[in-house]
Amino acid sequence: MSNYKLIYRITVLTAAVFIALLVGAAIIIAVGGNVFETYWIILSMPFKNFRSLCEVFTRMIPLMIIALGICVSSRCGINNIGAEGQMHMGVVAACAVAFAVQGLPRLIAIPLCILAAALAGGAYGFVPGFLKAKLEVSELLSTVMLNYAAALFYNFCIRVPLRDPNDATGTPMSARLPDNTLLSKFFRGTSFHGGIILAILLVVVIYVLLFKTTWGYKMRAAGASARAARYGGINVPKYLIIAMVISGACAGMAGATELMGLQTRAMENITSGYGFSGIVVALFASLHPIAVIPAAFFFGILLYSQVNLQILTSVPPNLVQTIQGVIILIIVALQMIINNPYSQEKFRKRFFKNQIKDIKEA
């Protein structure tokens, strides 16, 4: 990508954030809050001390892993709205396997749990992928419906088969995972856990997959123009299914890290809406695996602020979700501006006059 296009994209995305903050400001005023105080809390609290920065990092882990999966599915032309359900299935699988591998060394137990989560999430992604590829069932419908099914199945699991046998409080949750399956914390007293290693690893893997391998090439071709891909001998339905399996596997692994790194037991609301936030992160990153890192950091800050807003202000923490929603809308609108060659051209003319000369001379 040429220089000005990258700068153009960044400018437009930054504009998206500002517009979202402006709309957010209007909402804050409407609920009687103090705009500057609220934003100050959102933006400064994560940097107040190391512990709070770690809170942001912790939230980045599931966001990144899910967003990476979304990058794969969306680039292959299928919209996976089902990460939430695939994440639930991942938690169930990781949790069940964790109790089965009790006593094994950590280096074997942890990968086994993560693998189980990936398989479960992948299998749950396979279903809508297969339905779309073979029967042309809209993936929007099937993934959203499967989300409900997964949430109910999960709630059943933590009430019956996985329920903590020694619990006396009546809270529906599993027992604490055996120690050999817990991801270690990097720093004492913080929540930042080893899941980040998996997340970074996946950034590299997904980047290489999408841009350096023939599989990624075929998936992107199928996503960009199914007809041309078919003409070129690419088995479009096959790659559609593979992309959904990878996407689901990522969401499943995100569930495993959340369980094994942070919560230590399967309990209600374990997904915390990451399955949806992850989609926004992927969109915000323009579906590029590397850009997922800064995008997840930004959304990590937003999500962490929910905690602080509750403690420090009268502004409802749901505000953060409102801002997220506004950002989705604005990004979808701005994608059109980003992809519009004429506004790119205008932008280049205004700020990159020198480059025109270069081109002419060359």
């Binding site: 071709a221 960009a224 123009s225 041309a228 003409y231 070129g232 001998g233």
Partner: protein, 504 residues
């Protein structure tokens, strides 16, 4: 209603795009009731110039005058209200609306609480009677042929009160018959209107226009009265060199057929038999032209050979093996090459770069990847090599293929298909919408491929193209092969009769 336009004049118009000078100090004028033909190769800047007159772009320098007064169009609405109307190359119609509703879309006067369709109907009736433009106001757009859709576009534009028409390649999608009708119609209309039309086809330019203006690389290189020049002279000025028609003058090819189609029955998307017991054979090193009015089964034939459509009955034998109902990948692997009709959306992945499109069929070949890891360096060198060899005009190989002009897109496809050394090539409307330079280039490549012993099935509507290139000519009508003629036996009138279903 807009005032009469006695003269439209542009002076010293310059427009720059990234890396391209699209219009370079262009001046031209069109008087009352005059027809100006704007010709030039693809990328010469014709459409850009017209888009500036329509207010879709603003010129960087220069100005536009109507009846001697300077005008500035901020958007197409300004141009409409000044009485200028444009019919684009791709029609801007909503397929699942009726003709009336489509006209109403462009007619703001009819936008009341409820769309005033009665008023629109009266206006459509008035316009179509006045200009002799027959349209069925209640037909849905999807029911109409391309020629009929074009008439709807014209009616729509005229209903908006256009006094000055701009037509961007109006004949590029029309059959020969429809083209003749359009030329007659435009001649008649020029009694009341002024017209600029963009075209590649010089016989149409000769037949229709009063004045001709030739653009090359964004500059006006020639302006004059059409009647003073022959098509050949105009062609030479357009391309900057003498244009020769590429002709296949070789002796007929003997030998066994490499492609043999027997009793082939294939269904169309709308579930009728598009091919009905179709028979055809092509030998190695032979070009067989398949003439026919489009929609008689050509598309289905090309698709079924390439594994993109199911065979109901019959066989396709390719190099001794039956290939019917194989997957596209299997057919490609056996050495089949295919230049599809819809080059912009089927022949390339538009949003992917030239580089990535070049390996569309070969990403798994050991040349470009090992263990599924793409070898970027090799691919880049290869794409650069093809870009030079096939004269693909683009700043570099990383631009999206869809941003190229039609001729250059076709060169990308041709480069890919030819350089993978096919044993056979199915070629559908290879030069439709291309300028003469690009068409000449592509025809030369096809003949060179023939020399190398590759069999070619050339599907086209342009009889001239078919007669110049083919060794044998088959005519398809309603899914049946009417007759196969040797090169020497074919004349335009004989082919025309066969295409219309008249047997002999």
């Amino acid at each position: 209603m807009a005032k009469e336009i006695k003269e439209l004049r542009v002076e010293h118009i310059t427009k720059r795009f990234p890396g391209v000078l699209a219009s370079d100090n262009i001046s031209l004028s069109v008087g009352e009731h005059e027809i100006l033909a704007l010709v030039g190769e693809n990328g010469a800047g014709k459409t850009t110039l017209m888009n500036m007159i329509m207010g879709l772009y603003q010129p960087d320098e220069g100005s536009i005058f109507i009846n001697g007064e300077e005008v500035k169009f901020k958007d197409p609405n300004d141009a409409f209200s000044a009485g200028i109307g444009m019919v684009h190359q791709r029609y801007m119609l909503v397929p699942n609306m009726t003709v009336l509703e489509n006209v109403a879309l462009g007619l703001k006067e009819s936008w009341k609480t409820v769309v005033d369709l009665k008023m629109v109907r009266d206006r459509v009736k008035e316009v179509s009677e006045h200009y002799g433009l027959a349209v069925d106001p209640d037909a849905y757009i999807w029911q109409l042929s391309v020629g009929e859709q074009q008439r709807v576009e014209l009616v729509k534009t005229l209903c908006q009160g256009a006094k000055f028409l701009i037509l961007d390649e109006p004949t590029s999608a029309l059959t020969p018959q429809e083209t003749d009708d359009l030329i007659k119609l435009l001649k008649r209309m020029s009694n009341e209107l002024s017209i600029i039309f963009i075209s590649h086809k010089l016989n149409e330019v000769k037949a229709l226009s009063d004045k001709v203006c030739i653009l090359r690389h964004g500059k006006v290189v020639f302006e004059g009265n059409t009647s003073d020049y022959t098509p050949k002279q105009i062609a030479a000025m357009m391309t900057g060199h003498e244009v020769e028609t590429t002709e296949n003058k070789n002796a007929p090819v003997e030998g066994e057929p490499v492609l043999n189609i027997k009793d082939l029955c294939v269904k169309s998307d709308r579930d009728f038999y598009a091919l009905d017991h179709f028979n055809l054979d092509v030998r190695a090193g032979e070009i067989v032209g398949l003439a026919g009015v489009s929609g008689n089964g050509q598309k289905e034939l090309a698709e079924v050979i390439n594994g993109l459509r199911k065979v109901e009955s019959g066989t396709i034998e390719f190099m001794g093996k039956q290939i019917q109902n194989m997957t596209p990948a299997q057919v490609i692997k056996r050495g089949m090459g295919y230049i599809p009709e819809e080059r912009n959306i089927e022949g390339i992945v538009p949003s992917m770069s030239i580089k990535e499109n070049i390996i569309l069929k070969d990403s798994e070949s050991s040349r470009f990847s090992k263990q599924h890891i793409l070898n970027n360096k090799v691919i880049e060198d290869y794409a650069n090599k093809l870009r030079d060899e096939f004269d693909i005009r683009s700043p570099h190989i990383h631009v999206p293929a869809g941003s190229l002009s039609g001729g250059n897109i076709q060169k990308v496809i041709l480069a890919r298909e030819i350089d993978r050394n096919p044993k056979f090539l199915v070629c559908v409307y290879p030069i439709r919408g291309l300028d003469m330079g690009a068409a000449e280039f592509i025809h030369k490549q096809l003949l060179a491929l023939r020399e190398r012993g590759v069999g070619i099935l050339l599907i086209s509507e342009e009889l001239e193209e078919i007669m110049n290139l083919s060794d044998r000519i088959a005519v398809i009508f309603k899914g049946k092969n009417q007759k196969v003629l040797m090169k020497g036996e074919a004349t335009t009138s004989r082919l025309g009769e066969l295409m219309a279903g008249v047997g002999d």
